[in-house]
Point group: none
Chain length 202, copies 4
Amino acid sequence: MAIADRKRRERQARMQLILNAGARVFARYGYHRASMDLIAEEAELGKATLYYYYKNKDDLLLGILTEGIKDFFHHLELSLQTNKDPIEQLKLTIRESMLFFERHPDYFKLYMYLNVHPAFRKKIYRLMHPLLTQKIGMIKQIFQEGQAQGRIKDIPTEHLQAIFGSLVMGMGIFSTGKMTHEQLEERARYLEQVFFTGIVKE
Amino acid sequence: MAIADRKRRERQARMQLILNAGARVFARYGYHRASMDLIAEEAELGKATLYYYYKNKDDLLLGILTEGIKDFFHHLELSLQTNKDPIEQLKLTIRESMLFFERHPDYFKLYMYLNVHPAFRKKIYRLMHPLLTQKIGMIKQIFQEGQAQGRIKDIPTEHLQAIFGSLVMGMGIFSTGKMTHEQLEERARYLEQVFFTGIVKE
Amino acid sequence: MAIADRKRRERQARMQLILNAGARVFARYGYHRASMDLIAEEAELGKATLYYYYKNKDDLLLGILTEGIKDFFHHLELSLQTNKDPIEQLKLTIRESMLFFERHPDYFKLYMYLNVHPAFRKKIYRLMHPLLTQKIGMIKQIFQEGQAQGRIKDIPTEHLQAIFGSLVMGMGIFSTGKMTHEQLEERARYLEQVFFTGIVKE
Amino acid sequence: MAIADRKRRERQARMQLILNAGARVFARYGYHRASMDLIAEEAELGKATLYYYYKNKDDLLLGILTEGIKDFFHHLELSLQTNKDPIEQLKLTIRESMLFFERHPDYFKLYMYLNVHPAFRKKIYRLMHPLLTQKIGMIKQIFQEGQAQGRIKDIPTEHLQAIFGSLVMGMGIFSTGKMTHEQLEERARYLEQVFFTGIVKE
DNA sequence: GATGAATGAGCTTTCATTCAT
DNA sequence: CATGAATGAAAGCTCATTCAT
């Protein structure tokens, strides 16, 4: 079955090629101005070829988004395995989030763009929430573990999560890709400091 | 000059009417699916009339956004005059932000939609940054005052502001308009607690 | 309200103009090869203008078909008022049908084309059957009247109608628009003869 | 030459397989929505394989139509050999036609679809008329024989044929495949009665 | 022989914008 | 002032056909 294998690999490679081209074009022009023509040109493929691999424009975009989310959680999970202390794990989560925004400033934009777009909200939630909720549960457990150890204040976890999420996602809004890695690291440190001990002296 | 005055007032009223109709339609359909036809219909005006008051679709949209920002800062300034303590003023800012999201869940969506949209970013910054920087400077002063009083940690203000901004804007991402006013208040209290004293015990 | 009246008349005229252009193009190229571009060109209008008056291609086609049916029954009803004898009325129906095929060889083609096209069948039936059944009932009454007078054989009316309909519609299949009016008249006479007294001697 | 024979038989079988799949898909979706992809899938063959056996889509369709016509005349000829009386032969023709519509409701649809389709008309006539005229001549002879025997009225045969054809084809228009065999038989009997002796009493 | 992959050409539809009245 | 009517330009998508393997 060597042939079938090669075929499958080639198919995967093509899809990845299209995904990357798509990501670039979507990021550059935004969803609506990113025409399939432009993506095809960027991928150096015929337009119809895109449709051979992806059912339609939305499908392609969802492929890109899913890919990004998977990438993020993949890195995060690897990272979380290096340290089991809940406080440290939250720091790692912040760090990984910001690194992700650095690596893929575009993915966040697209996610927001669509999350905000009424017509897509439903579709996105349907397709990505299964993925998200599973992973988010992971973070919930970290908070619970921290509270169980008596090291994190007894704030209801749904609020904790929403606040943590806002903070992390909120950073994405301002991530223009114009910061150096050092500036990012510095901001991440301050962010940790604020989140863990607040801004008020004493 | 009574006639000219009335004319101006009527013109203002018409523009406001269009602005409101536009806001509703943009929020309901997103920028691209919100056609000028739909907005005209919602405003109960002829389509060409929109063009009489606004140069083009983008111009109308920017009108809506500017209007929202103004509304926000108007409320915020009123609020900040009631208490001169910097910590309290930050709390008021958080409170007002969340109230704004409650009042206008749509404005935030639109802002994100466009902030994320490469083609608009420049235009938005050009038109709204004068407005924004002035007002944001106000918040910077609050942080500086707090640090001068020795009550806020000596975190560089640009980071403080970015973190504060992220937190506040981040809440907007999750403001679906589905929360009750009480839930919102509760979340705001926890948010203050976290921002001022952190999540870590002791 | 003279202005509103004129507007309405102009609108009607435009729609008629498009309808006629559409009918010509549909007839010349068939439904699928008749592109909206071609129709627009034939109507000497911008393509988007067609969409200003008709929701979509199907809508335009249905307009054409409905128009044809109405035209047919309009002539038929006028004709039937000239003679109340059932046998004569059937003859008039045959005559009018064939004249209709002569006047509009295209309408029949289109009707068949779509009637035969699975995707349209439902839509056509939904939109045109109300119109058709009402009119067909008229013909049923003629048969019943003829039977009541003891001049038409007691064949169940549903079969009578189906046979009569087949015969009439069947003529449409062969109406290529290549016959002269005289040939048509001649064929109509023979058709009546066959339908009323059969082909068998004695 | 056994090998060549087997090859030819296998080729025939493959072509038949494709023809059947095509007929099903064409009938289900109509000509234009019946894509080669769908037909290939229905035939459980690769799409390119279809092109190995048929030059193009039209060629395949003509294959299907020709096949149907052949099938019809094959049955008809067998039937006509059982009785040499012209009147009876006409009855047999009606009977066989209706049975054909019952067996292959799809073939008629396709035939009409294309007969009506200007682009195909020429091609169809060129390819199928040789077949048709030969067979239609057969029916002409029956009428002439009937007239020679003094049993059929002296209506010019071209009109007789057109009327007979209209009647028979017209039944096809209404053959939705929803009638039971019994209802069909009943209608056939009434049809004969009308065609031979008319609907008028006395 | 058989086929998956690729694509050019073409289609319907949408919509911001203009303009004559 | 107000607007209905008109449209150019562009987008998403489909599909018959070809070709390298």
